[in-house]
């Protein structure tokens, strides 16, 4: 199998801030790689370098077998990019946007127009085709942006946080679209902050933090690594915190997190509902009253806590890649603050 994306020792600095610190990525043809990490981890920087928008300071980058630095134009002919901020012209209609992109890929007039119609139809935008993109909802703009990335039927597709800021329905639609593209044999690099999204869409997941890879594997492998599900209990009385912690430690994989303020305890467990039943039993036996109890899948926070010892939120307070000396990155910066 050929590798459609390959980076080695990718380094990018913004002044003193190191956005990428020796990142290695390999994406075989026809697979979906999920690049998972919090804001400021370096996901967008990596995508920008891979799509020729940014020069790396060190390292080698190959996309579709081509050296990105030496033959950027040939790379551009073979890739599609859908970014975090829908990169469509708001004064142009959906149709005009896609037609323009087709012309700029040099598909010619007939092919560009035909492709624009096809994609508008496929992305459920045919009714809005002749309305300026300004009037589109957030979800529609994202779909149009994704359609623009697909105009030239690219060999490699880059999706930078395709569902950030979308409502649940639009997110589900976007997932379906990406899944059907993956089934169609596209090579996709997808960045996301959501474990669930990477889980659903990616064959292979790379978790990055502060510009470095901190974990790599399939969704299942990562979940095992981060301890399967989480049991979470909220106590009625904070006097029970200590015995409750003892009970949970008995079933937990690793440490039990205790939040005294909210009287919430969280423990990583393996075994699902059986463990939950066991936990309830023990709390009952010890006569500890619970306000709330639940079993949930690990979130990105949990993955980070396990892998790095700090949560994703704490990471996002560190200098972000886009805030480093760029007045162009304002909109991205806002995204990061949020």
């Amino acid at each position: 199998m050929t590798d459609m994306i390959r980076t080695e020792g990718l380094v990018k600095r913004y002044g003193k801030v190191v956005a990428l610190d020796g990142l290695d990525l390999v994406v075989p043809k026809g697979t979906v790689l999920g690049l998972l990490g919090p804001n400021g981890a370096g996901k967008t920087t990596a995508v920008r370098i891979l799509t020729t928008l940014l020069d790396a300071d060190e390292g080698t980058v190959e996309v579709a077998g081509l050296d990105v630095r030496r033959e950027p134009d040939k790379v551009r002919e073979r890739i599609g990019l859908s970014g975090q901020n829908a990169a469509v012209d708001e004064y142009l209609t959906g149709y005009e946007n896609l037609d323009m992109v087709g012309r700029l890929y040099h598909l010619g007039k007939t092919k560009s127009q035909q492709r624009a119609r096809e994609l508008l139809d496929r992305f459920d935008l045919d009714e809005a085709a002749d309305r300026p993109a300004k009037t589109y909802s957030g979800g529609m703009r994202r779909r149009l942006d994704l359609a623009a990335a697909l105009v030239a039927d690219p060999e490699v597709l880059f999706l930078d946080e395709p569902t950030t800021g979308l409502d649940p329905r639009s997110r589900a639609q976007m997932w379906e679209t990406i899944q059907s593209m993956a089934r169609g044999g596209s090579t996709v690099l997808l960045t996301t902050q959501y474990m669930e999204e990477a889980d659903r869409l990616a064959d292979d997941i790379v978790v990055i933090d502060q510009g470095r890879m901190i974990a790599h594997g399939t969704a299942d492998e990562l979940k095992t690594q981060t301890g399967g599900e989480r049991v979470e209990v909220v106590l009625a009385d904070s006097a029970d915190l200590s015995p409750a912690q003892t009970i949970l430690t008995g079933v937990a994989v690793g440490d039990v997190q205790v939040d005294e303020q909210t009287r919430r305890l969280t423990a990583a467990v393996i075994g699902g509902v059986d463990v939950l039943r066991e936990v309830l039993q023990r709390f009952g036996d010890a006569n500890i009253a619970l306000v709330d109890v639940g079993l949930r899948r690990p979130t990105l926070d949990d993955v980070f806590l396990t892998l790095t010892g700090h949560t994703a939120d704490e990471v996002s307070e560190s200098p972000d890649e886009s805030s480093a000396g760029s007045d162009r990155g304002k909109s991205r910066q806002k995204e990061a603050v949020r």
Partner: protein, 266 residues
């Protein structure tokens, strides 16, 4: 496709996109046409009643000046357009496409030629209404209009560079005024160079705005009975203007394209 053909073809696609915006936001066109009318009326009636020009009416004398000033002012729109584009995600789209690196600039400056043509047309009609006349041949008049458009095109590239350099719409507007006001007022656009004191007179004589205005005046036959200018620049205004236009383009096209690639790399 060769580099130039690619730049022009892709530039045309971008220009079309810029022009669609006029259709979607017609207010832009209203403003583009209202301000030239205002300039013609303002200068014609305010200065026209207080300045004497030998051998011709002030309204005939100043119209070339208003034309030049308006297209130079209009060029700041190129800078604003570039700065606006740079703050939007669309530039990332453009830069990820296999299009000519210069296409966004070629398209922007190209579509601004249309803006300038519209404002010159509107000003001409307004001028004719308030008493301006062309006293020469159609060919001479056409030379005058083409020179204005060519000069405006060159200034557009300067402003495009400024727009890329500062990448903020508000700053572009303020920065371009710092350049436009002295360039247009210390010239022979509204006051004959001869009447200015020493250093200002020299600046005015060698200011390309003056030579463009002088060449356009000659093309329209609006020069009046002034003694021939002493400075070489005003003696050969068309040639001197063309040299400037060539120089500006030779410097600012490569500079702007480089700045576009650099600015977008951030």
């Amino acid at each position: 496709m060769s580099g130039l053909a690619l730049a022009l073809a892709d530039g045309a696609v971008v220009a079309k996109r810029n022009l669609i915006k006029i259709r979607r936001v017609p207010e832009l066109l209203v403003w583009t046409t209202m301000s030239p009318i205002m300039f013609v009326l303002l200068f014609g009636y305010v200065f026209g009643s207080s300045i004497d020009v030998p051998g011709t009416s002030y309204r005939e004398f100043f119209i070339a000046g208003v034309f030049a000033q308006t297209v130079v002012f209009g060029a700041s729109g190129t800078g604003v357009g570039m700065a606006e584009d740079m703050t939007k995600g669309i530039v990332d789209r453009f830069r990820s496409l296999p299009m000519a690196r210069s296409a966004v600039l070629v398209g922007r400056t190209g579509s601004d030629i249309l803006y300038n043509s519209i404002s010159i047309f509107v000003m001409s009609v307004t001028g004719l209404i308030v008493g301006w006349r062309i006293h020469t041949s159609v060919l001479d008049a056409a030379t005058g209009f083409l020179l204005l458009l060519a000069f405006a095109y060159a200034i557009s590239w300067i402003m495009a560079y400024v727009g890329l350099k500062v990448a903020s719409v508000e700053v572009v507007q303020n920065a371009s005024f710092m350049f436009i006001f002295p360039m247009t007022f210390i010239s022979n656009a509204f006051v004959p160079s001869q009447s200015l004191p020493g250093p200002l007179k020299a600046f005015s004589e060698w200011n390309p705005v003056s030579s463009v205005v002088q060449a356009v005046r000659e093309a329209f036959g609006n020069t009046g009975d002034f003694p021939p200018a002493e400075a070489w620049s005003l003696g050969h205004p068309l040639l001197y203007s063309l040299i400037w236009i060539g120089l500006i383009l030779a410097v600012f096209i490569p500079l702007s394209v480089r700045q576009y690639n650099k600015a977008a790399m951030r």
